[in-house]
């Protein structure tokens, strides 16, 4: 079967079973669906058991701070059809709760542990040790975009002194020529 036909079949079947799925096609062997977060476990289960997407390639999370949402991406791979499907879903940033899917794929447990720690997303019914990568961490979930790692590092870890005499090239030239940069232009400095 050609890749296009396979894709059409998949889209048809998914749309039949999951009315909220919005598809987006990409070139070659990629196919995206956006679904509501409640649909995620069932669509994943359906894809795995009914459509041969046996391999869970990846689970990722993106913080869209400005939109107040987390985007979660599940990437599945079908070893038979050689096609990958992306499942996108959005989770409210202020109340990030997701369904746990580690009964579908055991290894999802690890991803969920990480996301819980790094983004503060709660997975209902996730059984795992509290800490994953961090130890004795008491700041906000560090991968959230509003956490400023540079400021944290500067505050927490001592830095070797001796570099305070560095000059800014632009300012040096400015000073020499007597140029006065207006306040509003400063944000365009490199």
């Amino acid at each position: 079967m050609m890749m296009e036909e396979i894709k059409t079949t998949i889209i048809d079947r998914i749309k039949l079973h999951f009315s909220d799925a919005v598809e987006k096609e990409f070139s070659y062997n990629r196919l995206d669906f956006s679904v509501k977060k409640e649909t995620v476990p069932s669509i994943l289960f359906y894809l795995k058991e009914e459509m041969g997407f046996k391999h869970l390639s990846h689970i990722s999370c993106v913080d869209w701070l400005e939109e107040g949402e987390f985007e979660m991406i599940f990437i599945l791979w079908s070893p038979e059809e050689k096609i990958k499907v992306f499942i996108h879903t959005r989770v409210d940033r202020s109340n990030p709760v997701m369904d746990n899917i580690d009964m579908i794929w055991r290894q999802a447990n690890t991803y969920e542990r990480e996301m819980k720690e790094m983004y503060g997303i709660q997975f209902t019914g996730l059984e795992a040790p509290e800490e994953f990568l961090l130890e004795d961490w008491n700041g906000p979930p560090p991968m959230r975009r509003d956490f400023d790692t540079e400021a944290y590092a500067a505050k927490t870890y001592w830095e070797r002194p001796g570099r305070e005499d560095a000059l800014d090239v632009r300012e040096t030239v400015e000073k020499r020529t007597g140029e006065v940069l207006p306040e509003f232009a400063k944000k365009y400095k490199r």
Partner: protein, 597 residues
Amino acid sequence: MSFDLKGTLKPLTALKQFGQKPHTLTNVPFIPREAADRYRGLHYNNLDECIGCGNCSTICQNQAIDMIPVDGIEGKNGDSGLRPRVDHGRCCWCGLCVDVCPTGSLSLTKDYVYVSEDANSFLWTPGVDNPEGDERVSFFSTKETSLNDLGRIPMPELEGMERIKSFAEVVLGYNEEQARAEASRCISCGLCTEACPEHMHIPEYINAIAGGNDEDAVRIIYDNNPLPEMCGKVCTRRCEDICAIAHRGDPIAIRWLKRYATETVENADLLKEIINPEIKEPNGFKVGIIGAGPSGLTAAYYLALKGFDCTIYEANSKAGGMTMYGIPRYRFPEDSLDKQIEYIQKIGVRIHFNTKVGKDISFGEIYHNYDAVFMGVGFPKPWTLGIEGEELHGSIQAVNFLYEINNGKKVDIGNKVIVIGGGNVAIDAARVSARLGADVTILYRRRVQDMPADWEEIEGAEAEGIHIISQAIPIQFHGDEKGHITTVEYLKAEMVPDEHGGRPKPIAIEGSNTVIEVTAVLGAIGQQGDYSFLEEEFDEKVKIERGRIVVNEKQETTLNKLFAGGDSANRIADAISAIADGYRAVKGIEELLMKGK
């Protein structure tokens, strides 16, 4: 109880290695091993080539590179005077700093061993602390591997032969996409601001354009230049000469980007809305300005913003001075400045057109009526060649020629024109003549590469079919019995190096006389000032040296409360330095008048 005989004995064959030569490198660590030819080891910086642009410091994701002053290196035009110092407690030897170095001065060497018990000793300046690294350079960037965008986005232009059919503007201007792409080439080092006489905030407005904020770009440009459209079209752009990228490739098209930014604003009302200048309450002082050239307009604009009451007296019917009347329309269309002049008038500057000082109004009147006077009168009078036959009919001064043409008058030049000179005026005259249908030849004393005109102009001229005869010194014009010029006689010249280290001088070769037939000759070897409007009482007080009014760093002349700028006061004699003069004069005037307040 099976026994795997093969499996037991076969491994024993490994013991044969006992007799083989060991693979160990015994010299290590006592004699360092030579690294590969491309090895990324410790840094080396060629301090003479380095221009201190700080691009290495910007690209470094580890913030390992600081720019620091180094003994023995002074900042100058095109060199910040700073040199990179590398914190080897941060460096990851990725070599990105090398790949982005616009001059290629920074490189990595084959040295890789540095061991110390002192943690603070890992902070050192390449090239200063390892001058011997020169010979061990291994990882360097070339034009080919450089990460800088070396190629300029080509400016859309009319086709060469299409151009000479009319006076339509040759340069079409960038569209948005092109402008963004061109602006993205900039590495924002800001060295160009030093070359700019007006010290415009170049990297900032380019960054604004690159980031898609054209309005901010306009606002930044207007911060110290009220005539960006003029600069955007005809600036001599010293900034581009020293552009960091120009060391390897084409400089950023700073001028075109400025032009793009100003062109995004459609009319004066919008301009005012975007810039939204803060105009101070009128402070009661009146300033008179002679000449609505770049310097005069600049002074008027910023003085007006500061609450001064400004009046400009302009001899012609349009503002812009030499840019308006000396530059042909295909480079600088007539309506170019309308929007800006209108805007300047909108914020309260009065301009009296067609009012020639010395004829329509006396200088004395102005001087006595105003609290301060700024004078930007330019260089209206051409130099003459001073050779035989110059008075012949058909021997025309290029400046006058351009003035007439720009005023819409006709000048009869026939079909075979010689232009003498190598400056922008000469090229302009030649290209205008070509548009009038003449076959044009330029005679220039030195070589083509010595021509002071913009290279783009020269290329443009050549594209339009204009011949250039270099190393040619005209010695005589011959005319017919009607007093009309017929031929030009010139000598070939050879270039002799100057013993004082200046640029080579052309020396005429005896007997190499050549004669060309012509219908007209346009002389373009320079202009001079005309200060005849100064009445006697002032004439003595205003000190003039070698044709130029002497001013101090605040543009103040030797006459009290008289300020001067533009061609008549500075040697560079281009629009942007005139603007700079005007801008400086504003400060001088403000200081003079507001002293007590």
